[in-house]
């Protein structure tokens, strides 16, 4: 009986792909290897732990292989799954790839395999929240004309959210701030967008809004109130469609 090797990787798409690279390159046998995220599980006996340092070159190689040997859809799905706020995702992605590199593009429909299914579920969870957030993001205009938005999403979404808003508001300066992860994506009018991590934005800075802002906020609140048909009142349905965790960043239901 061989001892189990466990690769510990960083919680990012690149980190997990590097882990997959190391797992393949050590030629120890997939049955005796697992991937784990940093601090995901209690250390177990009779296992050897190897920390994996994220390496963009290695990750890119795996990324290319996925697109070439499986499909671009699979690559996108794995990327989404890697952003999910759930444990065991590294292992699921690793098992997906072990099977995927054997089977090719068909692997995507092999839904009775538990790992394929769980990768699909992870990616569904992320995209479902993404679709919601595309609607629930609220910008406010700051004094300096920047459109600012504060979020606290469940999954690490910003990188998926940015392209949508970059296309929607190409001529605006805007910024979306993830309160929990202390990250932001920033867009400059007429130019591209970029991600910034480890920033903290002071509350005061957020509350310096432009003159017009108050007016539109008032109009919006009155509009959402007026549009409700009293005879059809259904608070449960409202809450199902718009879970309470998002309410604190939405002015109309605050």
């Amino acid at each position: 009986m061989k001892t189990r090797k466990i690769f510990i990787c960083e919680d990012s798409f690149e980190g997990i792909l590097t882990g997959v690279f190391e797992a393949y390159i050590c030629r120890y046998g997939h049955d005796f290897i697992s991937l784990e995220l940093n601090g995901e599980d209690q250390p177990q006996f009779f296992c050897e732990y190897y920390p994996v340092e994220t390496d963009i070159v290695k990750a890119t190689k795996v990324g290319q292989a996925i697109r070439k040997k499986i499909s671009f859809d699979a690559y996108e799905m794995l990327h989404e799954a890697s952003l999910a706020n759930q444990t065991k995702k590294a292992e699921a992605i690793y098992r997906f790839l072990v099977l995927g590199f054997k089977m090719g593009p068909q692997v995507m429909s092999h839904l009775s395999n538990p790992y394929i299914l769980s990768v699909m579920k992870l990616s569904k969870a992320v995209t479902r929240e993404l679709q919601r957030l595309e609607g629930f993001v609220r910008f406010r205009e700051l004094e300096n004309g920047i459109m600012f938005s504060k979020l606290a999403p469940k999954h690490n979404q910003l990188i998926l959210l940015a392209p949508h808003f970059a296309d929607r508001f190409p001529e605006e300066n805007w910024m979306i701030y993830d309160e929990d992860r202390k990250a932001a994506c920033i867009h400059k009018a007429g130019q591209g967008w970029g991600m910034v991590s480890n920033i903290k934005i002071e509350k005061e800075l957020m509350s310096q809004v432009s003159e017009e802002e108050e007016l539109f906020l008032k109009l919006w609140k009155s509009f959402t109130k007026t549009i409700t048909i009293e005879e059809r009142k259904n608070a449960r349905l409202q809450m199902n469609m718009m879970p309470k965790m998002y309410w604190k960043n939405m002015p109309e239901v605050e």
Partner: protein, 444 residues
């Protein structure tokens, strides 16, 4: 009219949003467009819901009337000329400022612009056209726009509007021509169907041109929709579903919306609804509508000669399945896609997943459960590898007892107490719109 000009935008918004709230359509789907790096706005194919009102309906578009200063006298409408309500009219500029201001803050996905008839139909349509032209050409707005085609307006203006809007709709108002005559004296079925036909023709023409020329202008790319009021007039569900079916087939509509009648006016031609608007009936109609559009059913299948209305306790698909038990159980590993769609509890997503997954191995109940297929209703109608999930008998009464969904909001005063289906035949002809009559007779 002088004081109107002093009214501020906030007050106008309140009046004109209040007047527009009974329009059901709120989808922002059906068109995919990028901003192309200039102007403001884009559109996504699936549409985006931005908020949800207290009644649980989504708020996706800034839904307002251009004006509620209407010259028509439709009996069911709050803005009819004989009602004494505050009147307001937006200027095109005000609507543009509101739309852009809301859109920039990501409050909305676009504009839904309807209107009462000011002066006459063509004049109103012209106002709508001017507004969306300003929005598209001066403000370079590329988000979603849904406008109403006003029946009786000059076809030329309707055509010009169609090239700027994403979706147009023309409300049928009531399911039959007779009801329309009774409740909306200024409208006729013909004037409503005429613009609908015109829009249909323009859409198909524009599609043909797009095949030939890549940059041909797109006419109403997200298609057209319509809306009917349910429960104000005595039509049966069968009549309503048949009307919807023929609209889909003959006018190639994208959507038909149903709106449970809410009494806003007192009139002796209108029913009083002491038990509230017929929400469950509306829900059943939407369920049937989905069956027509995505499940390959047709209207005739859902009803029988005896049963012209929906069963209040069961959704239309369950109801259909129970009357066709000879076709069940269906083997999950063998049935084709369209047969799978006929199983209660299995929808488009589940059917597709089953079709994909069974290519690799024979599926068992555990497998399909893990895939996310909900077995609550389906388990009575399917076999996996030739076996039922539990040793149950395929029997109408037995299955009905287990299928009634206690979570559905039944009309007040009616509850399902576990009695068998045969006892319910009392309610088979139960007409949702006539709650009050039944109440008088002491049935409820």
């Amino acid at each position: 009219m002088d004081y109107l000009s002093e009214m501020n935008v906030g007050e106008k918004l309140q009046i004109l949003a209040d007047a527009a709230k009974y329009d059901v359509s709120c989808s922002s789907s059906g068109v995919k467009r990028s901003s192309g790096g200039s102007g403001i706005g884009n559109a996504t194919a699936a549409g985006i819901c931005h908020s949800f009102a207290g009644d649980g309906r989504c708020i996706s578009l800034l839904k307002i009337l251009m004006s509620n200063d209407c010259v028509y006298d439709c009996k069911y409408c709050a803005n009819r000329v004989s009602n004494d309500v505050p009147r307001a009219t937006f200027t095109p500029q005000e609507i543009c400022d509101l739309t852009i201001g809301f859109y920039r803050r990501n409050y909305i996905e676009g504009l839904f612009l309807s209107s009462g008839v000011v002066k006459n139909a063509s004049y109103t349509m012209e106002l709508i056209y001017m507004t969306i032209r300003l929005l598209r050409e001066v403000h370079r707005f590329k988000g979603y726009i849904h406008v109403k085609a006003i029946p009786g307006a000059d076809p030329l203006i309707i055509e010009k509007t169609g090239f700027l809007a994403d979706r147009m709709s023309c409300n049928l108002e009531l399911p039959t021509a007779e009801s329309l005559k009774l409740l909306a004296p200024n409208k006729t079925r013909q004037t409503i169907l005429k613009p609908m036909r015109q829009i249909q023709n323009c859409i198909s023409q524009s599609k043909n041109e797009l095949i030939l020329y890549k940059h041909a202008p797109d006419f109403v790319p997200a298609g057209q929709s319509t809306q009917m009021i349910i429960g104000a007039t005595p039509e049966t569900d069968y009549q309503i579903v048949s009307v919807a079916e023929s609209l889909y087939n003959k006018f190639s509509l994208k959507r038909v919306y149903y709106s449970a009648y809410i009494p806003v006016n007192q009139d002796n031609t209108l029913p009083a609804l002491p038990l509230g608007p017929p929400l469950l009936r509306e829900h059943r109609l939407y369920q049937a509508d989905w069956l027509l559009r995505f499940y390959g059913f047709n209207a005739g299948e859902l009803f029988t000669e005896k049963q012209q209305n929906f069963n209040i306790f069961l959704d239309p698909k369950c109801n259909w399945a129970l009357q066709h038990l000879e076709q069940f159980p269906i083997e999950i590993n063998k049935a084709d896609y369209y047969t799978l769609l006929r199983i209660p509890g299995i929808g488009v997503t589940s059917a597709k997943r089953i079709c994909q997954a069974r290519k690799f191995n024979l599926l068992d109940f555990d497998d399909i459960k893990k895939m996310g297929v909900v077995l609550k209703r389906a388990l009575y109608f399917i076999t996996c590898k030739g076996k039922l999930m539990y040793p149950i008998k395929i029997d109408e009464d037995y299955i009905t007892r287990n299928l009634v969904d206690p979570k559905e909001r039944l009309p007040k005063g009616i509850s399902y107490d576990g009695g068998i289906y045969k006892q319910l035949s009392l309610f088979d002809d139960y007409h949702f719109g006539q709650d009050n009559i039944l109440a008088n007779q002491g049935v409820i």
